[in-house]
Structures are given as structure tokens and as C-alpha cells.
Amino acid sequence: MATDGLHENETLASLKSEAESLKGKLEEERAKLHDVELHQVAERVEALGQFVMKTRRTLKGHGNKVLCMDWCKDKRRIVSSSQDGKVIVWDSFTTNKEHAVTMPCTWVMACAYAPSGCAIACGGLDNKCSVYPLTFDKNENMAAKKKSVAMHTNYLSACSFTNSDMQILTASGDGTCALWDVESGQLLQSFHGHGADVLCLDLAPSETGNTFVSGGCDKKAMVWDMRSGQCVQAFETHESDINSVRYYPSGDAFASGSDDATCRLYDLRADREVAIYSKESIIFGASSVDFSLSGRLLFAGYNDYTINVWDVLKGSRVSILFGHENRVSTLRVSPDGTAFCSGSWDHTLRVWA
């Protein structure tokens, strides 16, 4: 049955070399319409003034590395997950903890807040994504109403609700992404194409709302059609794992952060990389990236414990923020853009504004 796979005149080697030659041709095509660099176009944009952002809240309560966080649509609540299996929901404005649940696994690398604010999703080394409805009933154990939604064959690295509480998109160390129906746990669509672990994903803010981007250990960022499961566009310019991807607010581009210590901007209409955000003194990997509301600033958390702020248009580094005492593992701008939150292996989360 194994040899059933090959057609006549097709060998593994021939497929591989065909792929390589097509990649070369694709790069040529992409280069043809590249008539100007972003920083050139941005020359006439006014430079940014003095940049002052400080830690406004420090959330202490996790007993181990914070791995992931997500904002609630109410602009102040967040959910965070850590290596010791704890998932906590905070009102980060008052720093009160509102809910806490302990997962039956360690390394909870993914967590997400439902759009309604009534549930959270999380997962990690259990290879699953589970949904917990948030309850204030003191007599109810949160873990009792837990719903197992996604099943992968390796760790869960990222998850996100789509436009409603009823569908979840997941990324996994098994090299695939998948779309699930929350109520039934049914697999609605799966996305194959990465050659290694998928580490991150982000949903596109588009009018038709049908695509998302993922990044992985194969150094590729891939854009998918959620309906057909097909890869629509792929970019392979990073030199190491892509830890984080995030759409530009207009939906026409996305940024990525990688272990090669750079962040990059890819334009979807031009179909190419259009900017690299790097500095010789920055040698540790970028673990998470997010844009400010206007897309002018890119915040990136790094494995050297810092956060660098980049001018997206001019390509220069605007500021470096110190404060965390270990790797920054996760970073998200709040839904109304008033602040961003960073989570770190130093067990804390910080809200900056």
C-alpha cells in the first residue's frame, strides 16, 4: 500500500526538485513588481516623538512561567496560562483574580477568551483544546463543565475563537491547524502543509472573514482559506522558527516574530516580505508581536527579557522596555488599543500604557 502513493514518472526526488524550482520561479515573479522599499516611501512620514510607556499593572499569582494570554472584549479582563497548568482570569484593571482552574497537564501554551466573555479555551501538552464556561456560582467547580473540543496528536501551541463562541481554530506541534465546532467537538476543517510544528496563528480582520495565517518551526508563514482548507499564500524568508504572527489592522499584511531575532512584515497583495525589523544588538528570538491600533507601532517581546517597540513604517526601533526578569513569552495589545499586556517566564504579567 505504501508504494501506492507514487504515480508514474514521479519520484520523491523529482517532487522535491520540482518544488524547489517552483519556489525559485515564485521569488522571481514576486521581485518583478517590487519597485520601492517601505522605508523609502516612509521618508516623508513625520518621525515619532518621545516615547514613554510604563508598566501600569503587574499581575502576580502564577506560580510558574506564564506562557500565553488573551484579552476579553471588555478591554480589561484577561486570561493567562502557565507551565504549571494554572489558567487564571483577571480583571487586570483592578488586578483581581476572578477565576482560576488547574489543567490536568503542564505547559498550557495556549489560551483564548471567547468573544462573549463567557468562556475561555486552553490547552498544551495534553494535545487538546478545552473550553471552560466561566461561572461565578460558588458551588460549581469550573472544571466540572469543561468541554474537550480539539484533539491533536501533539501539543497544542495556539488557539483562537473565530467570530463567535461556537468555533475554535487550533495550531499544534503535530504540524497541522484545525477548525472545530465547540458544541460537538466535530472537526470542521483541517489545514495541512507545514513541514514541522505550527507555533502560532492569527485570524484575518477581513470583510469576508475567511482566512487566517499560521507560523511554524519550518520557518514558513502560511495563509489559509478556512472554507476549503487550502493554503492560499506562503512565505519562507525567516531563518528560524516563527513564534508569532499577527495581522496588520487593515488585514492587508501581517507581521511575524522569529527565533532569528527579527520581526518581518509581509504584504498580502504584493505577495512578499516588505520589511525586516532587526538590530545588531538584538540577538535573542522574538516570541510574540502585536500592532498598535493604527498599525504604526509594532510591539515585540523577546527571549532576552525585553520588549522592543518598532516604527512599522520607518523600520527603526523606537524604544526598548525593560522590566521582566525572564523571557517575554506572550504579548497582546488590548482590544481598544489603550495598553498592551506582556506575560513572562518570570511568572508575572505586566500591562503597559
Binding site: 466573555g117 461556537m166 481598544d336 500604557a353
Partner: protein, 476 residues
């Protein structure tokens, strides 16, 4: 040290790009002409050559990378914490001190002289080696082990008790050999060793720089490259898919870079005033002043929207629809034009697309009856070709069966109703009546800190009042 040269570190190095970058940095720091200023340091009665001070390192980093003191100190500290630089005095804490403490660069690979080298070439620091190190420390000075070292020592003793004699023997031998060295060399090697173990067995409370996430060493998909066997089919699929994807990509229509990049400039300048981090927000940023009025004024169902919020409805049709207040006003406008069913249809399609799988058949049927069936109460006007295609698809309902029809109606609204809405008196009045909050400055006196208001969790509200926009236009 346990016998054996380092195994080929190439595999590890490929997985940790920051280490190769650090090494390049450290190599250029030792360049005889362009590197850090080196001097001979006097330490007690010995003189140590090729030493550098913390300040020298910082100066060099500032010059070379055009960074601030703070960043240089941070970077220098990381170099020490990874063991590429080690202090020649009191290596209990790995930090970059800015006093006269001398530092030296760890050697790359020099098995004969010193067994301690760069992190990327290290093999996992063996338990046996650590046991020997601790035994040496214990022998050299009774009570020389600190708490966590004592714990490790006891643990190791239990674990490898059958070869403990070997450990003690090795320890004594190494101590004897050390005594034969010159005092300066002895000191240097001792500091190297101590730094090495601080990096590989950090004391409690100090983060280990060796820790990695679980993605290291678990990749499964597509990596197996066996010539034959059960994995071959998978790899064949992988390349076939990739070739297919690449072929499609080649046929893709692309836009000139200049056009795309100009769009960013336009987008960012238009949104700048709406970006609280860029332009602040009125009355104030809640995180900065602890005053949450901004959130109250911009609540999803605020009675009187702010100026900026109403302006944003003109940026794109999507943003108008995403705002529940904007959408409600747009619905009012459509009703006046007797095309409210378009928006209702669009909303129903959204509910189908993003709803639960179990609801699909019922929803499809409801939408058909209400909007698409001949003589339907709220019939929407779709072109005949789309309608035909949709009707065929309805035979086997799935969540995407109305996508084409939905897109058609969406474009109709976007290209026709939306521009007219923006020009309408309704919209102009909304802009005129919109609120512009006055600025509230941050309190000057910190002890008058306002208590931070808590807010009800969305999980507490009854379902109908949750963040989802209410779709109905109230028609019977």
C-alpha cells in the same frame, strides 16, 4: 571532568540561533584591534592577563551597536549569565559589575587546558561532573557548599552511591593536579569552573538560561525522510501539496509594492488620532489615570457615541458594521430606504457561518423561508445566477451554502447604501451631536489615588445583554 571530547555540537547550535550570534559577538569583542580594551589585572598577589572590566565591556557595546547604557548593561549581563564572560572575583552571582571586577572571556574549545567552554558546544553537563565538582568544593573547604549545593550533593550521593569512591578519587586527583599549576592559572580555572556550574546548575530563584519550551525535540510532521516504508506516502503527499500550492501561487495576481506601501501610510495617518498609544485618548487613558470614564463613554451600547467613534464609521464599511451603535444607525437608515432586509439577511448569514454545527440545517431553512423563497416576507434581491447557485446548494445545506448570496448583498450595501449613508443627514447629525470629552489630567498627588472601579464580568450578564450586537430591526 568525565572523559570524552564534546560530541558534535552542530545539531544543538542549529536549534539555538541566539547562541551563534552571541558567539560572533564575543569573538569580535576579543579582536586584538577592534575588540574590548584588555588589561592585566592585579588580583591579590597574582597578575591575570587579558582581563576586561564591566565598564570596558559596556563602552564597547555602546560604541559598536549604538545603544544606550541601559541596553549595553543588559546585553553584557546576558553574556555573563550565559557563561561567555566570567568574573575573576567572587563568581557567586553572574552579573556585569561596573566596578573594578575583572572579567575574562570563556574559551571556545580548548580541551587540554580547560574543559569549560562555550555553551553551544557543551554536552549536557553530566551528573558525574557535577558530583566531582561538588566533592572538590567539599574537600577543599569543610562547609564550603551552600544550601542548594548541599542538597544536590546529598541527592547525587544517594543516586550514584555505587561509584562514589570514583567521584572522590577523581576529585582528589583534580585538586592535586590543580596545586601543581601556577597560582594565576589556578585562580582562572577555578573561576571558570564556578561560572560553568552557575550557568548549568543555577541556584534557586535564578532563571536558568538553558531552559527551552516543549517544541524543542518533538517535531513530527513531514520531517521523516525514509526512502521506503510507511512514512513515504506521507512525505509524498507533503511535497505534492507544496507543489500544488506553489503552482497556484505563481498564477496569483500581484499588486505593485509602491501601491501597497502607500496604503500603509494612508491607513496609519488616518488611524493615528484613533490610536490611544499614539495620540492619547479623551478624557484620559484608564491605565494611566486609573479613571475608567473612557470605557464608560465608549461602551458597546453607549447612548451618545464619541466624535472619534462616529468618524470611524466612515473609514470602512466593515468598521461601521462591527460597531453595534453604528450598525443600529445604519439599519435605521436602510429602513427609511426600505432595504433593511439586506442587513438582516447579512446578519442571518453571519449567524449561520459562525454558529454551531447542529444549528446549520434549521438556520439554512429559516433564512431561505424568510429571505430567499419566492414570495418571502423579506425577500432580498440577488442576481439570478447567484440565486440559482444558492438554490442548488440548499439541497445539501452546510454553513457556507449562503456565502455567495451573502457576499452579493454585502457588496450591494457597501457600494450603494453605505456611501449614501455617509452623505445622509442622519449621519451628519450624528457627527454634530457626538461627544468630545474634555481631557482629565493625571492627578499630581499620588496619595489621592482614586479607587479603581470594578466592572461586572461579561460572564455575569444575561445572555441577551452580552457583547453580541442585536440584529433585529424591530419589524414585525
Amino acid at each position: 571532568m568525565a572523559a570524552g571530547p564534546a560530541p558534535h555540537g552542530g545539531h544543538r547550535r542549529a536549534q539555538r540561533p541566539h547562541l551563534s550570534k552571541m558567539e560572533r559577538m564575543v569573538v569580535s569583542m576579543q579582536d586584538p584591534d577592534q575588540g574590548v580594551k584588555m588589561r592585566s589585572q592585579r588580583l591579590l598577589v597574582t597578575v591575570i592577563p587579558h582581563a576586561v572590566t564591566g565598564n570596558d565591556v559596556m563602552e564597547w557595546l555602546i560604541q559598536k551597536y549604538c545603544i544606550t547604557e541601559a541596553e549595553a548593561l543588559h546585553l553584557g549581563t546576558l553574556l555573563v549569565r550565559h557563561g561567555y564572560l566570567y568574573p575573576l572575583r567572587d563568581p557567586c552571582h553572574l552579573e556585569l559589575r561596573l566596578d573594578e571586577t575583572p572579567y575574562r572571556f570563556q574559551v571556545r574549545l580548548n580541551w587540554e587546558q580547560t574543559p569549560y567552554f562555550w555553551m553551544s558546544t557543551l554536552w549536557p553537563a553530566a551528573e558525574l561532573d557535577y558530583a566531582i565538582y561538588l566533592a572538590k568544593k567539599n574537600i577543599r573547604k569543610r562547609g564550603g557548599l551552600v544550601d542548594h549545593e548541599k542538597e544536590h550533593y546529598d541527592q547525587l550521593h544517594r543516586k550514584i552511591s555505587h561509584t562514589w569512591d570514583l567521584v572522590v578519587m577523581q576529585a582528589r586527583e583534580q585538586l592535586r593536579a590543580a596545586k601543581q599549576r601556577r597560582k594565576g592559572d589556578r585562580l582562572v580555572i577555578a573561576c571558570q569552573e564556578q561560572t560553568y556550574w552557575l550557568v548549568n546548575r543555577p541556584p534557586p530563584g535564578v532563571p536558568s538560561v538553558l531552559e527551552q519550551g516543549p517544541q524543542w525535540g518533538s517535531c513530527t510532521a513531514g520531517r521523516v525522510q525514509m526512502p521506503t516504508g510507511p512514512f513515504q506516502t506521507k512525505t509524498v503527499d507533503f511535497y505534492r501539496r507544496e507543489v500544488e500550492c506553489l503552482r497556484k501561487a505563481l498564477g496569483r495576481a500581484r499588486v505593485k509594492s509602491s501601491v501597497c506601501l502607500e496604503a500603509y501610510l494612508k491607513f496609519s495617518s488616518q488611524r493615528g488620532p484613533h490610536d490611544p498609544i499614539m495620540s492619547g485618548c479623551l478624557p484620559s487613558n484608564p491605565w494611566v489615570t486609573d479613571n475608567d470614564t473612557y470605557w464608560a463613554m465608549n461602551a458597546p451600547s453607549a447612548a451618545v457615541p464619541t466624535r472619534l467613534r462616529v468618524e470611524q464609521w466612515a473609514f470602512s464599511f466593515r468598521e461601521l458594521l462591527e460597531d453595534p451603535v453604528g450598525r443600529a444607525h445604519f439599519m435605521d437608515f436602510l429602513r427609511k430606504e426600505f432595504s433593511g432586509e439586506n442587513l438582516s439577511f447579512w446578519e442571518a448569514c453571519e449567524e449561520l457561518r459562525h454558529g454551531g454545527q447542529a444549528q446549520v440545517p434549521a438556520l439554512v431553512d429559516a433564512v431561505y423561508q424568510q429571505f430567499l423563497a419566492p414570495g418571502a416576507a423579506r425577500w432580498v434581491n440577488i442576481d439570478s445566477r447567484t440565486m440559482e447557485r444558492t438554490l442548488v446548494g440548499l439541497g445539501r445545506p452546510h454553513r457556507h451554502v449562503l456565502d455567495d448570496a451573502q457576499l452579493h448583498i454585502y457588496m450591494l450595501m457597501k457600494k450603494d447604501s453605505y456611501p449614501r449613508f455617509l452623505k445622509s443627514d442622519l449621519y451628519k447629525d450624528l457627527l454634530a451631536e457626538a461627544v468630545v470629552p474634555p481631557e482629565t489630567k493625571r492627578r499630581v498627588f499620588p496619595f489621592m489615588r482614586k479607587p479603581r472601579h470594578s466592572s461586572p464580568s461579561p460572564a455575569l450578564l444575561p445572555a441577551s445583554a452580552s457583547g453580541e450586537p442585536s440584529g433585529g430591526d424591530g419589524e414585525a
